[in-house]
Symmetry: C2
Subunit: 660 residues, 2 copies
């Protein structure tokens, strides 16, 4: 252990001593700066006593080793030092190093004085090399090395330092408030030590358990390693760089004609079919590995590209290719003034990040949607599908023309974890998670990038007293049974109180039970129907189970849905059109249905073409989202030299013009 702090501890103590020994008159005089060496002498003993005490709490002995740079000039010294440290470590005694400041003869500027070491960071680096340490951890007051001053929002933590890449891009902030050093000194020491073979991690000394976490291999702080620049160079492109490249490529893509984008999709479809054997071989390798690893059957099923899947994917890409071009559509056209025409046009969002689990077909679908809509794309798949994803990515990007560039679609396979990707809110425009509710809610909780998706699908069917009970039965059964794991399946059945013990309701409940649906009751239904009590009204079973509760009327049903629902899809069964309109108007969910199964809440069934996802967010897109969820708009204005000039020159007409 290399410590600092002796001068600081000593200065504090001496200041106090001086104060108590000063007369009031003394204090009026200009105060001499305290001598640094005196402070070091006083502080070092206090510091060592403190370490001794702290280590003693853990029944560990510590020892003090004070060195100066001139010691290292003696060739025998280095050898003896190693022997001493090894003896101490054998005895489980922690050696605590510090520079022997009190007797050191050198002065500022320290760095040039000897070239051996000049501060605690370089001392640590030197000792790591001398002692052939396995790892050097440098503790800082920030989380590691940033690309700029850590206080500035655009500064990013660098996880692996690569000299060629980072040397020129880093700007350093102020030094530490106490002591010499600062981040510049740490980076220099880390670079020297790592080049001599001791890997170095710079991390925060304030963060909880940071040393333990480094030892456990967690990716915290900044790693320096002599081989870092040769680590999988193609894969070590950072996600940030991939996002920036994807945006550049997407700008070229959107600048093509609609037919050129269509041609690319047709080429992708052809390439998939041409490489079917290769893709299936890689996929089978993933499937075998997943089976061997004992993954769940359902996961293995989702991972498998069944026979016929590749041609069917190719077919749907060709359908997409023939779709009306979603971008460069004029959505609104206004004559602002004579010869000054404003158009609102559709354009790509920019760069999308898709996080998906298992299903390699999701990669193909989303990549073709991105090409159709002119977007750049980062793909982060599950590691269980790595070989499938890699070959699919290669086949698709190989089919992209050179004037666009393969980097339009990046497959993130580097060390970057999802958490790191989610921090890139300045270069990624939208995250689309494709996977479990848990994945979606974790992503929503940990990013500032807008997320298109839904974490919960707590869908309700409300059966009003005026319901046609045959319709009620048909819809309730479909909403629960058709695909219980779907997000648009019914989770809660609300029933008007007048239907308690009615034959119609009894028939519905019996049918549900017959189909194997476990029925839980809210406080009222639990009592009246003698069924088990539901733990919570805000619960998505995603299986053959549902909650039943009675409500006073349509207004109570609406209130219940607002209180416990997830704003996904809710349905009323009634023959009373006034009651229906109250429900349709008031229920504040993405989709609200009258006399139709909640299962219709789906992009394909809505006729949206390709479905990007279902959103329960209220911003940008809501409910089932088609390709328009990948688009934004631009305002284009064409004039003949008009100026604003305090709004005195132009006669505004603001006339709507027909769209061409």
């Amino acid at each position: 252990m290399v410590t600092s702090g002796a001068v600081g501890v000593g200065r504090q103590r001496l200041k106090y001593r001086k104060l108590v020994n000063s007369s009031f008159a003394d204090l009026q005089k200009p105060q001499m700066e305290l001598d640094g060496k005196a402070c070091a002498a006083v502080g070092q003993s206090g510091l060592m006593a403190l370490y001794d005490m702290l280590f003693t709490q853990l029944d560990v002995s510590s020892s003090q080793l004070l060195v100066t740079d001139s010691d290292f000039e003696n060739p025998n010294f280095r050898e003896r030092l190693c022997e001493t440290v090894e003896s101490l470590l054998d005895l489980k005694v922690v050696p605590v190093f510090n520079e022997n400041d009190a007797i050191s003869t050198r002065k500022a500027p320290y760095e040039d004085s000897s070239g051996i070491f000049w501060d605690n960071d370089s001392l640590a680096g030197l000792l790591a090399i001398e002692l052939k340490a396995d790892l050097l951890v440098l503790l800082s007051d920030v989380d590691g090395l940033y690309s700029g001053p850590p206080s500035e929002p655009q500064s990013k933590l660098i996880h692996t330092y690569i000299k060629e890449k980072h040397h020129n891009e880093i700007t350093f902030g102020d030094k530490s408030r106490v002591g010499r050093g600062g981040m510049t000194a740490k980076v220099k020491a880390a670079f020297v030590a790592s080049n001599s073979g001791t890997p170095v991690v710079i991390t925060s000394g304030f963060a909880s358990q940071s040393i333990v976490r480094v030892l456990q291999g967690e990716k915290i702080g900044t790693l320096f390693h002599k081989d870092a620049s040769s680590w999988e160079p193609s894969k070590d492109v950072s996600a940030r760089e991939m996002a920036v490249s994807a945006r550049e490529c997407s700008r070229r893509l959107q600048n093509l004609s609609s037919d050129e984008r269509k041609k690319i999709l047709l080429d992708v479809a052809d390439a998939l079919e041409a490489n079917e054997d290769l893709i299936r071989a890689e996929n089978e390798a993933d499937v075998v590995a997943a089976q061997d690893a004992g993954y769940e059957k359902s996961l293995v099923a989702r991972l498998t590209l069944k026979p016929g899947k590749i041609p069917s994917l190719a077919k749907s890409i060709r359908t997409l290719a023939n779709m009306e071009d979603p971008i460069n559509q004029i959505l609104k056209r206004t004559e602002v003034a004579e010869d000054l025409v404003l158009e609102k046009t559709s354009c790509p969002l920019g760069v999308l990040l898709i996080v998906f689990e298992s299903r390699p077909d999701a990669l193909v679908q989303i990549a073709s949607l991105a090409i159709r809509s002119g977007n750049g794309l980062l793909l982060k798949g599950g590691k269980e599908a790595m070989r499938s994803n890699t070959i699919l990515h290669k086949v698709i990007t190989d089919a992209l023309p050179d004037n666009i560039g393969k980097k339009l679609i990046g497959l993130v396979t580097s060390r970057d974890e999802i958490a790191d990707l989610l921090k890139l809110d300045d270069v990624i425009d939208l995250v689309i998670p494709r996977g479990s509710n848990k994945l979606v809610s974790q992503i929503k909780a940990s990013t500032k990038i807008p997320v298109l998706g839904h974490a919960d699908g707590v869908c309700h069917v409300y059966v009003d007293k005026s319901a046609d009970m045959d319709i009620a039965k048909r819809i309730v059964m479909d909403a629960k049974i058709d695909y219980p794991a779907a997000c648009n399946a019914m989770e809660t059945l609300l029933v008007h109180k007048d239907l308690i013990k009615s034959p119609g309701l009894d028939d519905i409940l019996l049918s549900l039970k017959t189909e194997g649906v476990a029925i839980y009751g809210g406080p009222i239904a639990h009592e009246l129907l003698s069924i088990p009590k539901a733990d919570s009204f805000h619960h998505e079973y995603s299986s053959l189970a549902c909650t039943v509760e009675f409500v006073d009327d349509v207004q109570s049903a609406i209130d219940h849905i607002h209180l416990y629902g997830s704003g996904h899809t809710d349905c009323i069964i009634t023959t009373d059109s006034k009651v229906a309109e109250t429900f349709l108007r008031q229920v504040d969910s993405a989709a609200v249905f009258h006399n139709a199964s909640t299962r219709f809440s789906d992009g394909a069934r809505f006729g949206l073409g390709a479905e990007v996802g279902i959103s329960t967010g209220r911003i940008h897109a809501r409910g089932p989202v088609g390709v328009e969820g990948l688009l934004t708009t631009r305002w284009i204005m064409r004039g003949i030299g008009q100026v604003v000039n305090g709004d005195k020159d132009v006669a505004y007409t603001h006339k709507n013009l027909p769209l061409e």
Copy 2:
């Protein structure tokens, strides 16, 4: 100071002792649990030595006071204890209390044993009362008291504990891993001590400087105070509760007919005019206070409601009232199948948070826009406009009918700071900052709620070689001079290299200089024109200054804009329509103009009616945003009992129907 940890320290030490003194055979036998009292005895001395050492580093003496509950049964004891502590404090010695565990006679369950104290938290509470402490700080491993287990995302930190409000809503998580206590014990102790007159703050012992920050009055941790429940009860409604109420009211508001919402706006307009004198009196009080406080003139100007402002605000509210109703518009209508009709309709976003500086008229504008669009609203104004905002808020909410409720619009005046409001991403749908770029970028950096606004407006004008130089001059002058502080003013002038030293360009530069514009050059222009060098191309002067640079052609101009622009508004001046279309198509900014001043980039000039803001975000709304920025959509479907049933029953038609 009340400490714990003696048993833990002692156990660790004894375990080690036992290990070294055990034979291998001993270790095969079942190991006895170490005696707690023995651990306490061993640990206490180590603990005190540690404190002594730590305090000694600061030249502070510490002292040990070990007490048992039975001590407190002796009436003289309490009196003598106070005297001892006072003597110690007079001598600047820190008393360190702990329960005398080693000799204490009691056993678990501790709480019921004496009723005097039963753990370190209750001991701390007891001592605070006995010693009539000014403040008790209880340190925990979490940031304070949460509404639920702190590990769960929906749990919120409670800043001020109010028994009536919080007692039933809090669920406690697990106890601390070491020692008795846990949050339940801390809350109990805090409640008892605060009721006896000592305010208590529960805060994190891990957070940096937490005790100092509490003493400096920072709002960290959870405060317990006997008067908390009577603190400005009307204002102590938390921002969360205000947001929830605003949503409830907004649901009633959107359920009104269009005419009823119109009537409310007309009532608000009337109320403003009827209360003009009162409003102006309060505003004048703010203005006088701001002048007295020495605020900048520009701020005082923005704060002032000039004569005629109230009637003009009322007039614009009446215009808004007569606007076409933005909500419940059918945007798309599809026949999904026979008798199954799907509609996409416009609806309010939900709850908006407006953060605005100075201008009280912004309150009126945004409140009327919220009413028109059926949204709930939280307003957070600057404290310099507090009296103006308060009266305007009162006048507007008094005009709301009872069936909607005044809580539709909440004025946040409680202790809640902007930072706290920005955490409410589960109950607020959109933040609209109205103020400086700094305010906007701070808000964007610190919230997960979508933000509608722009931090930068680095707008470019590119003069192509084919430009009509008269038009170029007119537009460049207007873009820079018309209102230099506006976000749509030109900051960078890009010029085709063929125009270097052309009479047309010289004329433009001279005119700019004549109007007092300071001209800075990029690397090339700096050399060629002998003008000062610009520090950065990404710079918004917001004043009579701009950057000039030469580029090779339209493609270089586009690349420059992508690299350094802010995606706000960019303009090309050219007579070559092919070049113009390249620019219009490729520049990836919210607004892109050909031969028209950047100053046209504005909601009113675009003919959007009321302007909500200008967005450089790509999600939800882009460029000048009208009332549609406050809206989202819902899908409404009406059927006659259709079900999905594996898509076997329904014949999908997906026919577009005319909008009604």
